[in-house]
């Protein structure tokens, strides 16, 4: 018998603190699988965000640092500038990246830092108990938008992938999701493209991953996955927003 699927080496054999059906576990695994596949486990350095994935350094089986809330792209900049031979990625949620850390992500992207950023967008703040995120959808009820998010006064959801794609320094942008197996495999391919881009020294790569938060959406995990397809993808369309440039 041959193994079809087993835990990647780059993921520690440990339980996560994530809620049942949370997308972070899938995204962690995809990154770990690609790190294994590309054979970079011994020269990759990850950055864990502040947010639900704050403990990511407990799960990845390679070097990982924390970063202050929103500052992961700055930390990644420092790492990659100091040690260009390392493969540096930042893992960020929607509050970390699109609210408190908007300046850092915009400027790291615009400088074309040779780093990879994985942006897990679940349209809500999980760690602090389900408050509005910059990517919360209009009408979506959260702890801090009890009547549903209203564009007037609360703004409309920010499309970060489209925002970053316009910078010349950004070489690859794709939005994907983990809503069903086919999409998970596409997300895996995007993760691989982004990390390969860095290995080849081609510049900033960005992968946004729409991910469910069953707990603070108040939905069964299976239903939450359908909600991504029915609601989120309308606002955050899937697909490749910026193709990596051809060789030469």
């Amino acid at each position: 018998m041959t193994t079809v699927f087993k835990r990647p080496e780059s993921l520690k054999d440990t339980e996560t603190h994530y809620c049942s059906g949370c997308g972070h576990g899938i995204v962690h695994r995809l990154i770990a699988e690609v790190v294994d596949e590309l054979g970079i486990r011994e020269r990759v350095v990850g950055i864990a965000p502040v947010g639900c994935a704050v403990l990511a350094y407990e799960y990845f089986n390679f070097d990982v640092s924390e970063a202050a809330h929103g500052r992961a792209p700055a930390v990644a900049t420092g790492m990659k500038r100091a040690r260009p031979d390392l493969i540096v990625f930042a893992y960020q949620g929607d509050g970390d990246l699109a609210a408190i850390g908007m300046a850092e992500i915009i400027h790291a992207a615009n400088r074309g830092e040779h780093i990879t950023v994985f942006f897990v967008n679940n349209a809500v703040y999980g760690m602090t108990g389900g408050q509005m995120a910059p990517t919360t959808m209009l009408g979506q009820k959260t702890e801090t938008t009890p009547r549903g998010r209203n564009a007037l006064g609360e703004g409309a959801p920010i499309r970060v992938a489209e925002l970053l794609a316009q910078f010349d320094g950004v070489k690859f942008v794709e939005r994907c999701t983990v809503s069903k197996p086919r999409n998970v495999l596409k997300a895996r391919a995007a993760v691989k493209t982004a990390l390969s881009l860095q290995i080849e020294g081609k510049g900033f790569g960005f992968v946004e991953i729409l991910s469910p938060c069953p707990t603070y959406w108040g939905l069964q995990p299976r239903v939450a996955m359908r909600m991504i397809e029915e609601r989120m993808e309308e606002i955050f369309p899937l697909g490749r927003i910026k193709e990596p440039a051809a060789e030469g």
Partner: protein, 357 residues
């Protein structure tokens, strides 16, 4: 012996960082330290280093964090309002026990203040400044040459103790030009950076974190940090004493006011008054034992600082409520002039009916 160069404090500290082997500079322009960003933007590429003009001081200090956590020597510089923005990052650097060098070329505050020279960030520097129980080692050079020496020392101290080191200078020292020698320092005997995130080749993964949730774990971590701080206090308190042994009036000052004090001491000594100067060279750890010794015979201790009175609190803490500790403090980005200091000294001489000897 290295050649003497004419450099302003800001340029000299930049070149000293290069001499210390630092190849990573991250910073955001702010007066009066802009010479550093300009100098480094030119110099870093020349020596194969990295210069990033960051989008903010928040980003700058976190770039330093990133470079430090992968094992590189990194420096950032700013002035008071920018240093306030960096406090979050400095707290994280202290918590992650990373080596980093930060220079504050102090200007008048609070708020946007002005760009005049000031020493009003002493509390912020010596009490941690950000959240949590931590300390940064604080060096307070008083000449351009000492700025150079302190930058080199700062990198070694940072590496030795895995702790942020802050160099506290004022706008005058940053801007003034003096002759300096910058020689590559002899290699210090420093611990290996086996904690750095350099890729987990041939070893278990390293992680760097400060979120510590286990029961009593954070308590233990803090106790360990405090032990480190006690060790730093025991080993690294530095000071300079000028004519302090028999002083009836002991001046206490650091940075550029200490220069004025030194010349005034010389002048009054020539006139026969027993006056001396105690200069803390490290503001943290504060050289308490040495100050207590120097102040033993003094009838008055006059603290001279370009703030409304911050250093004076450490002096009072050291000497106790019974000591006659006075303050000549000038906030607002203004220099303390020799004349003002002499008037205050004359007043003290009169009050205590001090005699020439």
């Amino acid at each position: 012996m290295a050649e003497k160069h004419l450099m302003c404090g800001n340029e000299a500290l930049s070149e000293a960082a290069v001499a210390a082997g630092c190849r990573c500079y991250f910073g955001y322009p702010i007066t009066p330290q802009n010479e550093v960003t300009a100098y480094m933007s030119r110099r870093m590429p020349e020596v194969g280093g990295q210069f990033v003009q960051s989008e903010s001081e928040l980003a700058a200090i976190n770039m330093v964090f990133g470079a430090a956590v992968v094992g590189a020597r990194a420096i950032t510089t700013s002035s008071s309002p920018g240093i306030s923005l960096m406090q979050e990052g400095i707290s994280y650097i202290a918590a992650n026990e990373l080596p980093a060098v930060i220079v504050n070329v102090m200007r008048g505050g609070p708020g946007l203040g002005n760009i005049g020279p000031s020493q009003a960030d002493y509390f912020q520097a010596t009490r941690g400044g950000g959240h949590g129980d931590y300390r940064t080692i604080v060096l307070t050079p008083a000449s351009v040459q000492e700025i150079v020496d302190h930058v080199i020392l700062a990198f070694d101290l940072a590496d030795r103790y895995r702790n942020p080191v802050l160099i506290l200078i004022d706008g005058v020292l940053g801007q003034m030009v003096e002759p300096v020698e910058i020689a590559p320092p002899p290699a210090a005997d420093l611990p290996a950076k086996d904690w750095a995130l350099t890729g987990c080749k041939g070893r278990p993964p390293n992680k760097s974190r400060s979120l510590i949730l286990g029961e009593n774990e954070l308590l233990e971590m803090n106790r360990r940090l405090q032990e480190k701080y006690r060790a730093i206090e025991a080993a690294e308190a530095r000071h300079e004493a000028v004519d302090a042994a028999d002083a009836e009036i002991l001046l206490v000052a650091y940075g550029s006011p200490a220069r004025t004090c030194r010349s005034v001491v010389r002048k009054y000594r020539e006139r026969g008054y027993r006056i001396g100067l105690f200069r803390p060279v490290t503001a943290w750890p504060f050289p308490s034992a040495a100050l207590a010794e120097c102040a033993k015979g003094a009838s008055a201790v006059l603290v001279v600082e370009m703030s409304a009175g911050q250093l004076v609190e450490d002096v009072r803490l050291t000497l106790g409520p019974a000591a006659n500790v006075l303050l000549l403090g000038k906030p607002g980005g203004e220099v303390i002039q020799a004349g003002e200091l002499e008037a205050e000294i004359d007043r003290i001489i009169g009050l205590h009916k001090m005699k020439r000897r």
